[in-house]
């Protein structure tokens, strides 16, 4: 049966009103620069932070930025915070990506983090010495298996074309087995593939940052110990920034996140209150 035009108009108006409300809930707190009060990091964010914090200076840490621009809003702040932590603690991040459309995004994050850390270090970060951007190599899970046996064979050059064989940052690193920690930031099956073809196969500690959509699915791996910690969505990035005591995009977005969540909850509860009322008064049929 066709929907009457008046009903169509009503639905369109309702839809647009909701769009305006959502936009206002997000824009107003950001425009006014509102930040949330004190909040504590969630347990699994804390665990990942503690793991990175426990590594001595000079330790090489592999960060795999397996995301593209579609999910950069959640995962880029995580990447920035992790790199900031690595540079602050004098760790040597080895950054790669398994997503071809995310290469230049990863490159940008690394470059900005390296430039930002110059005041802490007193000098500019040098690619190949203080960090390595390996870039992207096709091969999917076979690449991971190759890295597990011969990392420099899998990446014979870094993203800028410099050979990895004699790179100071990769000295004494033969394979993934020589790395104490690998962290994957992903919005796709890559989080699990790193466990199957990486952490469980070659026995290294593994942590992840995921979009909030994937967060609940990772709990079996967290509870089993296959993951040492996890950053879940923009809140995870905000947690990491709070622990680092350096607030950035993640934290600044939390007020908008809070207001928008309350809005959605109120909308759903209001709609259901109306529904229940109409059912009790007999106006609503099943």
């Amino acid at each position: 049966m066709a929907i009457p035009p008046s009903e169509l108009r009503r639905l369109a108006i309702t839809r647009h009103v909701i769009y305006v409300l959502v936009a206002a809930a997000v824009v107003v707190p950001l425009a006014l620069g509102l930040t949330p009060g004190k909040f504590e990091a969630t347990p699994y964010s804390h665990k990942l932070f503690d793991k990175v914090n426990s590594l001595p200076p000079g330790t090489r840490v592999l960060l795999s930025f397996d995301f593209d621009p579609g999910t950069e809003a959640e995962l880029l702040p995580m990447g920035a915070a992790l790199l900031r932590h690595c540079f602050r603690n004098r760790l040597v991040p080895l950054v790669m990506t398994n997503i071809p459309s995310g290469v230049d995004l990863a490159r940008k994050i690394v470059k900005e983090a390296a430039d930002r850390s110059e005041p802490d270090w007193g000098r500019k970060q040098t690619s190949g010495v203080d960090y390595v951007f390996l870039g992207y190599r096709p091969g999917d899970v076979n690449l991971l298996l190759n890295m597990g046996e011969n990392l420099k064979g899998a990446f014979q050059n870094d993203y800028y074309g410099k050979p990895t064989e004699d790179m100071p940052a990769l000295k004494d690193i033969r394979s993934l087995k020589d790395l104490p920690l690998v962290i994957d930031l992903a919005a796709s099956a890559w989080v699990e593939l790193w466990i199957v073809y990486g952490a469980d196969r070659f026995n290294f500690a593994y942590g992840a940052g995921v979009t909030a959509v994937m967060g609940p699915d990772m709990y079996p791996f967290l509870q089993s110990g296959q993951m040492v910690g996890m950053l879940n969505g923009l809140r995870g990035a905000a947690d990491y920034e709070v622990l680092l005591e350096k607030l950035d995009r993640g934290t600044f977005g939390m007020m908008s996140q809070s207001v928008a969540h309350v809005l959605v909850i109120v909308l759903v509860l209001a709609a259901n209150a109306r529904f229940v009322y109409r059912r009790l008064t007999g106006r609503e049929k099943d």
């Binding site: 999917d140 809070s258 259901n272």
Partner: protein, 227 residues
């Protein structure tokens, strides 16, 4: 015909057997063999680009040729692709073989940061509006299952934002600040964990069975139709 189906199926079995067995062979040859296979996959995958590009461009070219409704927009597909390929190969006038440098933004990267990133990020972000609208218009508690779903959603949505700590503080003092976050965490750590583990076990057993079916030639849908 045997060379159209039987030999490919045999290849599947042999490759699968090699893939399975080589993991258990600690000899260096096994690792070298896998590196060869990875290089091959890299090359074959590179040729796969032509298939994807052809499908997309053929579809839009047909639309332009037949002057179908909205054919003018398809011109922008060719325009965007041509400009990016030109920028990627031109590479600031140095020709097609120059590699990027750490401190220089190439023309290709400009196209990436200021066209691809905004478009893709915005297209994904638009879902926020549709989701809020859909939740308001369709999420109704008609039975116990829906009530459980809604209750869990509200606890998680509220518990995961910092405002819930402020709210807890307001209601119960400093000690109550973690009430809602902890409720959300308990929900994630127990019932959510149980359900997700059940789903994970079921799905993975199914996937393993499917892999075995592929290896033994029982599952052939990946081969496509025809002979």
């Amino acid at each position: 015909m045997w060379y159209k189906r039987t030999i490919p199926l045999a290849l599947v079995f042999v490759a699968g057997l090699l893939g399975f067995v080589h993991e258990y062979i600690p000899h260096p040859l096994s690792g070298e063999f896998r590196e060869e296979v990875t290089t091959s996959i890299r090359i074959i995958g590179g040729f796969g680009l032509f298939i994807g590009a052809y499908s997309l461009l053929h579809m839009h070219f047909s639309r332009i040729r037949r002057r179908q409704s909205g054919w003018g927009y398809s011109v922008f597909v060719f325009l965007g692709a041509a400009v990016m390929i030109f920028l990627g190969l031109w590479n600031e006038g140095d020709g097609p073989l120059v590699d990027p440098q750490p401190d220089v933004m190439t023309s290709l990267q400009w196209g990436y940061y200021y066209v691809l990133v905004p478009c893709q990020a915005t297209i994904f972000s638009i879902l926020a509006f549709f989701m809020a609208s859909a939740a308001f218009r369709t999420f109704r508690v008609r039975n116990l299952s829906a009530a459980l779903l809604l209750g869990a959603a509200i606890i998680v949505m509220f518990g995961r934002v910092p405002i819930s700590e402020e709210f807890g503080r307001l209601l119960f003092g400093e000690g109550g600040s973690q009430l809602f976050p902890k409720a959300s965490q308990v929900l994630m750590d127990y019932p959510n964990l149980a359900a997700k583990r059940g789903i994970l076990l079921g799905v993975s057993l199914g996937a393993i069975a499917q892999s075995l079916r592929i290896l033994f030639g029982i599952e052939r849908s990946y081969m496509g139709g025809g002979d």
